[in-house]
Symmetry: C2
Subunit: 217 residues, 2 copies
Amino acid sequence: MKRIGVILSGCGVYDGAEIHETTLTLYFLDRAGVQTIMMAPNIDQHHVINHLTGDEMGETRNVLVESARIARGEIKDLATVSASDLDAVILPGGFGAAKNLSSLAFDGPNATLNAEMAALLKAMHAAKKPIGAICITPAVVSKVLADQGITLTIGDDQGTAGAIQTMGNLHQESTPDQIVIDEANRVISTAAYMCASSIGEAGAGIEKLVNEVLKRA
Amino acid sequence: MKRIGVILSGCGVYDGAEIHETTLTLYFLDRAGVQTIMMAPNIDQHHVINHLTGDEMGETRNVLVESARIARGEIKDLATVSASDLDAVILPGGFGAAKNLSSLAFDGPNATLNAEMAALLKAMHAAKKPIGAICITPAVVSKVLADQGITLTIGDDQGTAGAIQTMGNLHQESTPDQIVIDEANRVISTAAYMCASSIGEAGAGIEKLVNEVLKRA
């Protein structure tokens, strides 16, 4: 049975993993009959956002503990997973990828990276195992695999597309029902809520991404 | 456009709304082209559970604020929604329904109910508008509409099935890919994670439930 890693970054679009993107990834993976291995770093979130008001809350929450909400408790510390444990890996989006897994939201192309995530993604790429990147995470993958001329999509946001190019990769515009496949690098991306206006629109691209990742896993 | 309410109870299976069940409900509703109106009560959660360890955490979280994570901020205070605003209503599961929307987890058939939720569901039932109940929420609906002989399913859990019968309703066993329709009362239920072993299994019943609710809305 194929073993597909899913890297989470919390639980909620504004400070963690985007819940719809993550859940639909899990749904399409399960329907395909593969084994899903969820993981997240055991670190504090950058901050906690009240998702009703958008205001920052005076709280501290842990990325692994909050990610476990989406995973129903079945989740590993990212530090304990290596590329040899996986046949492919998928990163759902959400600001957590740009605030907890990296500093992309604050530092753009000069972002720092969570070291465990970066090491895992580099090892997956070196082993020619597929990487699926959803929403904002193509920009995170672009920083991990900088200066390699990889073609990625985050939809049509000019600022983020420019950051990907500054990092030495290529950006291809897309709509949320589309995916972009860099066959040589085995990197597949879709824009999802970077430009989707509904969960159905986001799901259309995610379903295609999951299918194409699995074909190559 | 049909207006379908979805009542949330937090964000996470052990102390709030079950995330997969809620997200898949939203996904199937959106694909059907209807308007979704999410709502939750503006009250503190009964408690906060660390979903990695299962232990109670010494924190206070608000049901509406945490539910907003699943809703990406687009959610109403349950107190502001009335039956005239909706053509149907669906309740995803999770312990939040049995701890925050009611005291079912602690008091069984003697549970107390969130008054706003109970009033809304009674008004929907009186108006012959469909109610969809997922996972543990058929037992909550059973308490709201006690002694009416409504046929519901929560899968095959004998304790919860017995509680439904004690409340004066009827229980029909089911597998997670099945739904139970009480046509006279326009109440449709599915067991989902009460007995599903995967998100795909839970989704199979939820997809059918959403379709049958919409046929009657």
